[in-house]
Subunit: 326 residues, 2 copies
């Protein structure tokens, strides 16, 4: 910058003002400065700028696994919105590991990010509150912490579980298996609660042996479905905690020569893009992934820019996308 100033015969101040358009500069000098910048191939150092203005135009995003289509879809929309707003995003994968989540959060804070998006993290309330106390804007995505003064955006998972199960019941299914995700994650447990509710409303007893825990990955859907189908009295339908496990389950059925939905109906959750293209196409619960990603980053950025905003918890509606797997 000093070089540019010298080359243009002005002060550093003026160069700064030309760059940031922060006060009027005569056309003549501005041209000279711009010319010097060009001639010297000057690249502003945003690091120094950030140190000075205490803003990095960077946000951190912690997700369990960015290679999981559900998260990668959300992450994509988040990145999109941030780009539009002039923010960069630092990607952090936690694998659901609490230590890793905490470690990442600290790195982000030390790197002076302007805000952090926690997507489905399991961090304890204590830790989250500690972070919040650092006065760094925080946004919880797909995670619920009741009665806490924190912004959050999540989908109505309970209703999703209910919708899926209700749908299967309406089609005459009475023994409905359920492959859950990790029970300590609210979205996952909420889906199971919805499943319970629907069964109870129809006076169908809950058979605990029909509820198996998976890990949201393809393989576990495959394995758990095989377990269910190996039972003496196998279920006639399976509600899976997410689409990935549902796809695994469909393969398990396919591998046994079972026909979907005639022999076994399958319903997923998330409605990831691929759900429309499985054989047969997968009935699933549509989460507004785009809205989830965009709204959360939008709210975070708003909070960054205007500090005095009311805390709000946003619950997004889910929907049942009926396809041929049920």
């Amino acid at each position: 910058m000093r070089d540019v100033a010298k080359h243009a015969g002005v002060s550093v101040s003026t160069v700064s003002h030309v760059i940031n358009e922060t006060r009027h500069v005569s056309t003549d000098t501005r041209q000279r400065v711009l010319g010097a910048m060009d001639a010297l191939n000057y690249q502003p150092n945003r690091l120094a700028r950030s140190l000075r203005v205490k803003k990095t135009q960077t946000i951190g995003m912690i997700v369990p696994d960015s290679s999981n289509p559900f998260f990668s879809e959300i992450a994509r929309h988040i990145e999109d919105y941030c780009f539009e707003q002039g923010y960069s995003v630092i990607l952090c994968n936690s694998d659901g590991d609490l230590d890793k989540e905490l470690f990442y959060a600290n790195v982000l804070v030390e790197k002076q990010v302007d805000g952090i998006l926690f997507v489905a993290v399991g961090l304890s309330e204590d830790n989250i509150l500690k972070l919040n106390a650092q006065r760094i804007p925080i946004m919880l995505v797909d995670r619920q912490i009741p009665n806490l003064p924190l912004d959050s955006v999540l989908a109505d998972n309970r209703r999703g579980g209910w919708l899926a199960t209700q749908h299967l019941i309406e089609h005459g299914h009475k023994r409905i298996g359920c492959i859950t995700g990790f029970s300590d994650l609210t979205p996952s447990s909420e889906r199971v609660i919805g499943y319970h509710q629907a069964l109870e409303e129809h006076n169908l007893g809950i058979d605990e042996t029909l509820i198996l825990q998976g890990d949201f990955h393809l393989q576990s859907g495959y394995d758990r479905a095989n377990q269910l189908l190996d039972m003496n009295q196998p279920p006639t339908a399976i509600f899976c905690g997410n689409d990935l496990m549902a796809i695994g389950a469909m393969r398990a059925a396919g591998g046994r020569g079972l026909r979907i939905p005639d022999d076994i109906a399958i319903v997923g959750f998330d409605d990831i893009p691929i759900a429309q293209f499985t054989n047969p196409p997968l009935t699933s619960i549509t989460q507004p992934l785009k809205k989830l990603g965009r709204l959360s980053s939008q709210l975070l950025i708003e909070r960054i820019q205007k500090k005095d905003l009311d805390v709000a918890q946003h619950m997004l509606e889910v929907d049942l996308a009926i396809r041929q797997s049920s």
Copy 2:
């Protein structure tokens, strides 16, 4: 840091040395400093540190679309390795848009990232060389620029195309459709070249009407496959430029009541995780995605740390994973 120093009754220098373990400090003072850091809840400011040491421990990663399983898988492995090495990664989605790629590259440079990973970017040689001239370490992933002094890691796409086509020929197919990706991307065009070569080696003429261009997404696989199957003399097998399009193609076949592989054989490319769980499981060309991600980030970080390294282009082997779709 000044506060910590004051609280511990030492100089800022000593605090710095305690933090970075950059020179010996007596156990007593170290304890006092650590105590002060704890008492004051001190968080080092990595921004200031970076400004001083001219290293940000951050790398930029530009990918076309991080919600595409192929890229998200690579990106995940990149992030993993970088985490292990103490680097953060800034995620950039270019959508294959050259302007966006260039814009992102500039932002990354201004943010003083220590290096940039270009995953399948289409940036002109000029632009890439210009960036390289800025003395910022660059790594090309899944992109080839022959005769240029740049590090790169990519898979043997041509051989992959050959393997897939050869496999279909061996199974007696003579009319083999091909759904390509964008022809201006080397990985895509190389795959088609492999397809050509295999056909020629077996003296099977090349019917240009059997070669359709897609865009690497599910929908285009579905659409192009339907086009092929609508032909008077439809192909008996389809080689798809990537798994996503292959899954779209499988759905197109399924939608018509065609049986895979009896009525139509399908082969994909990439071997994304889901390929093992389609119905039937998808034959595909395995790219060493993990190796691709890890090796590229490893090499980049090595280049960052030791500047005098020979430039190298790494070509990774691909493999044919035979499953039931062919």
